[in-house]
Each structure stands twice: as C-alpha cells, then as structure tokens.
Symmetry: C2
DNA sequence: CCTTGCCTTGACGCTGACGACAAGGTTTAG
DNA sequence: CTAAACCTTGTCGTCAGCGTCAAGGCAAGG
C-alpha cells in the first residue's frame, strides 16, 4: 500500500502521514524507487492516532498507544503506559471541565447583571397594561 | 502615566500594551518626545481586556466591551454589543462543555475496558486468600 | 561626560498539527 | 512522445497572544 492509498483509507492526507512519520509514529518500508510502502497494520495505527488526536491528545501522548498496537495487542489502550496517559488525560479533562464550568458561571452572572442593568435604565413594558 | 507604569499597575507587560494598541484596543496620547501617555481611564480598560482574555475571549470579542467603557459606562458589560458577545460566548462554552463531557465519558470507558482487560490477562490476588 | 533607566520601532520566535506550494522523479496509458 | 497520476524532499504559511532581542533616542543624576 502506497501513501496515497493509506491516506484515503485512513481518511487523512499524505502530508499528515509524512508528518506522523517525521515524528516517529509511523514506519513504512521503502520500495526500490523510494516510495513509502505500508502494510495493513499501519492502517489501524493511523486510525488509532487520528482517534486520539480527535479527542484532544497530542502526538507525544499518542506514542504509547502506537507502541502498544505494534507490540501485537488488539487494542492500543491496554498497555501500562497507555493507561497512565489515559489517567493523566482524564485528570486534565476534569480540570478543564472545572475551569470551564467556573467560566460558564461567571459569564452567566455577568450576563444577568448586564440585563438587569438594562432593565433598570431602559425598562420594557410590563405584563400589566395601562 | 507612561507605558511602564500602566503595565505594572495593570499587571502586564509593555509589549502587551503595545500589542493591544496595534490592534486598536488602547489609545494613548503622545508626549512631545513621542512617549505614549495614558490617562487613568485606560487602566480600567486594560483590566477589562485582561479579565476577558483570561476567560477565553479573543481580542475581537473584547472590542465591544472596551467601546462600552469608553462610552462612559461604569461597566463594559451593559452595552448591547457586549451582551451579544456574552450570549455567544456562553453558548460556545456550553458547546465546549458538552464536547468535553463526551470526551470525558469516552476516556472513562476506555480506561475501564483497559483495566478490565488487564485483570483478565494478568489477574491480581483476590481478597479470599489461598 | 557617562551611566542608568526609561522610552521608541522593527522583526523574529514560539506552540501544534498540519495545508499549500515548489521542483522534480517514476510509471502507466494512449 | 506525452499527458496523467502517482511519488519524493524541502520550505513557508497558518492561528493568537504575546516573549525576546536589536538598535537606538531621551532625560536625569553624579
């Protein structure tokens, strides 16, 4: 399988695959003319990478999962290093959720005050008519 | 007030203030020798900017709030344009919260499966001894 | 006069995951 | 022969909010 085919099958671009390779995540062989040649297993690797990146992982976070797959496991999640990363990421997400929730609360408050202020300085008609 | 003093009082850097100015958010006068001269009101403006950026706003989002302050209001929140931005941002935050929650759920699931798998292939000692 | 400490503009660096383009080699089909 | 459709490496651009020099002007104190 050449790079174009892998890209299409993985739903990504050749640029991306070369980028992953430059960062040591994908390891194609080379054909006589210098073309990158991938075997079927790399498809699963690339899909694993994509899935994790979509969830907000960085390339460095992804490495253990790739190594896990390459070690022959059916899932990239089950190796100790992967589990460590999963735990860490879960904690990060929790932290981020907390902060976002606080921000949401603040925005809500700010909005309420702003609207209250507008009602004060520029009142709308009430339900009870004249 | 010169730029250094404003920077210190606002808890930021001169570079940052020049950056805001380049983006039309802050408008100092110039003294005879070309130095930027800020009046007291700019301190509140800069603090408003900083507060909003800290919450995740972009410089463009901040503009209405600055204009609102500059229009003589005691709060930057109360002008219609500011309220629009607040609403939009609140919606964005809600969306982001949803996505993060989904991600958290997925990570949790992944982690559970991974650990379950480890228990399967590499069982630990039970509570009931030998 | 010289140093110190402000200030000025200008311009590159950084982070991350690529997109886009350049300039060229290879293979296949017509 | 040539066009089409692959492939190669290399380099710059992107987004945002600045950090970090670089090179120099201005003001005050000793």
């Amino acid at each position: 399988m050449l790079i174009g085919e892998l890209a299409e099958r993985a739903g990504t671009s050749t640029r991306t695959l070369r980028y992953y390779e430059a960062h040591g995540l994908v390891r194609p062989r080379r054909s006589a003319n210098g073309y990158r040649v991938y075997d079927e297993a790399e498809l699963r690797v690339v899909r694993e990478i994509r899935a994790l990146l979509d969830v907000g992982f960085g390339l460095d976070d992804v490495r253990p999962f790739v190594a896990c797959l390459r070690a022959g496991n059916t899932s990239g999640d089950i190796c100790p290093d992967s589990v460590l990363v999963l735990r860490r990421k879960l904690a990060e997400v929790d932290l981020y959720l907390d902060r976002l929730t606080a921000v949401r609360q603040q925005l809500h408050t700010q909005l309420s005050h702003a609207i209250a202020h507008r009602e004060e300085t520029c009142p709308r008609k009430r339900q009870s008519g004249p």
